[in-house]
């Protein structure tokens, strides 16, 4: 596999935050634990799971990464037009991590995505139309306007929407995979946590419970260098996140998160292990968050040059295009055709999504419980079908006595 060197981290491609990590340690990297399954780098090219992917499948990986990136770019445009309600979260530079890992699952498997796993959701069958409607808080969005951005799921297609409190999806996915095990189903679960979320009690309790129960669960720690503004050196004193595997007694592995095939390989190995009764694995994928936590974040806390270096030297799409050309013999035309298809798909979805109406206010009352299926409107709302009088909002409250500041 001649291009494998290209997939290795380049010179500018140092791991995020290495200058401060291991602050409390001696700087030495931990010995790899013998019980860890071999990571992709220690395998010969033909042993890699990705060696078994067809050319079409490998091209597919590019399509999903491209779709992820372009869809987010469309969302940026809509955000600037104030059509997105609330914040916009990017996964720029992390597309390989999301797509490569999700691609290692079967349809019957279930994953729980995070805010930067748009790519995982697309691979699992979420559509651009759903994403666009969701971000624009439309009435026919997957959550009917109840939840924001990509917080939605579909157990049939195999993804469960996250909630905001970080770490909570780990115990939830322990329960999902506990069910697989109890029912002797041939299914696997995958849950993502950010470097930041590894500090939460929920992560700890969830992975520990899953490990003890030997559940078919893969836990991917996405080390993208930051949690909001917090660098990993302030998140953990561990020399690497994969070291946490040892404390839970589960195999651990690291992968270059900007190498889609490496991510696929390492995830596939863990998924196979889980499927064959080998229990939990913890994978650290090394990547980098090139945009702010959300669009409003100006990343003032990032050292000068760091982002540019990652963009210039370690973009997952750039890197994969090299692989496509060199290993798959893809031509510029073939790649351009995929890019064009992505744009068409997104254009069509955008047109469609923009047409959708906002939710009917009264839909708010439906489905807090299975029984009763509908809440009664409070007495002061009886006879009204919405909350806000037409003329109330523009003046707004907070304007009283000229006390309004600028928003």
């Amino acid at each position: 596999m001649p291009a494998s060197g290209k997939r290795k981290a380049g010179p500018g491609n140092r791991e995020p935050g290495t200058e401060t990590r291991g602050a409390s340690g001696n700087g030495k990297r931990a010995e790899l634990d013998g019980s860890r399954f071999p990571g992709p780098r220690s395998q010969s090219a033909s042993d890699r799971a990705s060696a078994k992917l067809t050319r079409d499948q490998k091209i597919d990986l590019y399509y999903w990464m491209r779709l992820t990136r372009s869809l987010e770019e469309r969302l940026v445009a809509l955000y600037r037009q104030t059509k997105v309600v609330g914040g916009l979260f990017r996964s720029l530079g992390q597309e390989a991590d999301a797509v490569g890992s999700a691609y290692a699952l079967e349809r019957r498997d279930i994953l729980s995505p995070l805010i930067r796993n748009l790519g995982s959701m697309l691979v699992k069958g979420a559509t651009p139309l759903e994403i666009l409607r969701q971000y624009m808080a439309k009435g026919d969005s997957p959550t009917r306007g109840r939840e924001l951005n990509i917080h939605f799921g579909d157990t049939d297609r195999g993804f469960i929407g996250q909630i905001s409190p970080l770490g909570d999806m780990v115990p939830v996915m322990a329960g999902v995979t506990m069910t697989f095990k109890m029912r002797r189903q041939d299914r696997v679960g995958l849950v993502y946590v950010g470097d930041g979320a590894t500090s939460t009690g929920a992560f700890h309790e969830g992975i520990n419970l899953a490990a003890v129960q030997r559940l078919p669960l893969v836990v991917i720690v996405e080390n993208n260098g930051y949690a909001y503004s917090t660098p990993i050196s302030k998140q953990t004193a561990a020399r690497q996140f994969v070291d946490k595997a040892i404390g839970y007694g589960v195999p651990g592995a690291q992968a270059d998160g900007n190498d889609v095939l490496a991510v696929y390989d390492v995830t596939k190995a863990a998924v196979d292990r889980a499927r064959s009764g080998g229990g939990v694995s913890l994978i650290e994928v090394m990547t980098y968050r090139r945009k702010g936590h959300a669009e409003h974040d100006n990343q003032s806390y990032v050292p000068a040059g760091e982002i540019d270096r990652w963009a210039a030297e370690n973009d997952p799409l750039d890197r994969y295009r090299v692989v496509m050309r060199e290993e798959l013999g893809a031509t510029d035309e073939e790649i351009a055709a995929i890019d064009a298809r992505v744009v068409r798909d997104i254009d069509a979805a955008t047109d469609e999504a923009e047409k959708s109406p906002p939710p009917d206010p009264l839909d708010a009352l439906i489905g807090v419980y299975a029984d009763p299926p509908r809440e009664r409107p409070l007495w002061f709302r009886e006879g009204t079908d919405r909350a806000v009088d037409v003329n109330e909002r523009p003046e707004g409250w907070g304007t009283w006595s000229g006390r309004t500041g600028s928003v």
Partner: protein
């Protein structure tokens, strides 16, 4: 039929539901080999095996979260908090994840979180709590708290069959002190329905759990000593509240005491008072009064615990005041 205890009634409900539906399973700390700190799940492990009676690490977040995930997949988990006090550790995942799952994500999340609750047992500040108020406040959760053995069984069976998350508070003082004869057959008690524990004409006491028995004791005293006829309404379900039953007793006696073992400020008595106020203001011949615990972390020494918690004599005093109003 022989009487069984409140605790045995709970166990019977678990066994029957696990027999009936293979999706029902139990999970918690020390519930398997040991049978639970209070032995509620005693015998379940040998009957149903390790895959349906799961001993877990000490991880309330983990257990509750896992129950949610299993619930999404069609299971019906029953999880134990070794003492209900430790439900505080799962507050986030219960109120943020579980309670909202159906609404925000259309995900079913059937599960029961059960555990020994309440005081009067010299358990000190962390083994005596009544944390219901924090959950009644959360849309998406149901809350039950039975006072009798019959209701313990019937509500547990309904809770397990409910399609949403039910918090099941079991009063540990009642576990072995209260007995009842179980109705034949598949005995369920509907969630959301109160029970008239005693009929009366002069004053209503609205309460639940252990203080139902205190109210009944006070009612007997008041009848004997004052000739007062006191009605006692056992709420049984705290969320959703049985407004109909509450309003009916208010309209009947026109004088209401709300009684709970929980601390006063922010306890459920406020909510009940508000609802009565909104719906039965014209029927009230006296202010709705509250007898509750003091707003104090529950101390452990008997003299202190007795002082902080509501006692029968307090109820007697309050009812007399209402009757004389």
């Amino acid at each position: 039929m022989a009487e069984i205890t409140y605790l045995e009634a709970l166990r019977e409900a678990l066994v029957e539901e696990m027999d009936r539906d293979e999706n029902v399973f139990c999970m918690g700390e020390d519930i398997g080999a040991y049978g639970g700190a209070f032995k509620v799940t005693d015998g379940l492990l040998s009957r149903f095996g390790e895959s349906r009676v799961i001993d877990t690490p000490i991880s309330e977040i983990g257990i509750v979260g896992a129950a949610a995930g299993a619930g999404h997949m069609g299971m019906r988990p029953v999880v134990e908090m070794q003492f209900i006090d430790f439900i505080a550790n799962a507050y986030d995942i219960l109120t943020n994840y579980v309670a909202t799952a159906r609404y925000r994500a259309f995900l079913p999340c059937p599960m029961v979180v059960r555990g020994p609750s309440g005081g009067y047992v010299r358990g000190g500040p962390f083994h005596s709590q009544n944390p219901e108020a924090g959950f009644i406040h959360t849309p998406g959760l149901k809350v039950v708290y039975p006072a009798t053995a019959e209701d313990a069984k019937g509500l547990m069976k309904s809770a397990i069959r409910d399609d949403d998350c039910v918090l099941f508070f079991e009063h540990k003082y009642l576990y072995r002190r209260i007995k009842g004869e179980m109705p034949q057959g598949d005995h369920t008690v509907p969630i959301g329905r109160a029970r008239l524990a005693r009929e009366g004409r002069d004053v209503s006491i609205i309460t639940y759990a252990a203080t139902v028995w205190k109210a009944l004791e006070a009612a007997e005293q008041l009848e004997a000593q004052d000739g007062l006829s006191v009605e006692v309404l056992d709420l049984r379900t705290l969320a959703p509240l049985d407004d109909e039953a509450i309003f009916a007793t208010v309209r009947k006696t026109n004088r209401v005491l709300v009684l709970h073992e929980d601390t006063r400020t922010g306890g459920i008595a406020g909510e009940i008072t508000s609802r009565i106020n909104e719906s039965c203001f014209e029927w009230l011949d006296a202010p709705v009064l509250r007898v509750t615990a003091h707003d104090i972390p529950l101390p452990y020494a008997p003299s202190l615990e007795d002082f902080v918690l509501p006692q029968t004599s307090d109820i007697v005093r309050a009812v007399r005041r209402l009757a004389a109003y």
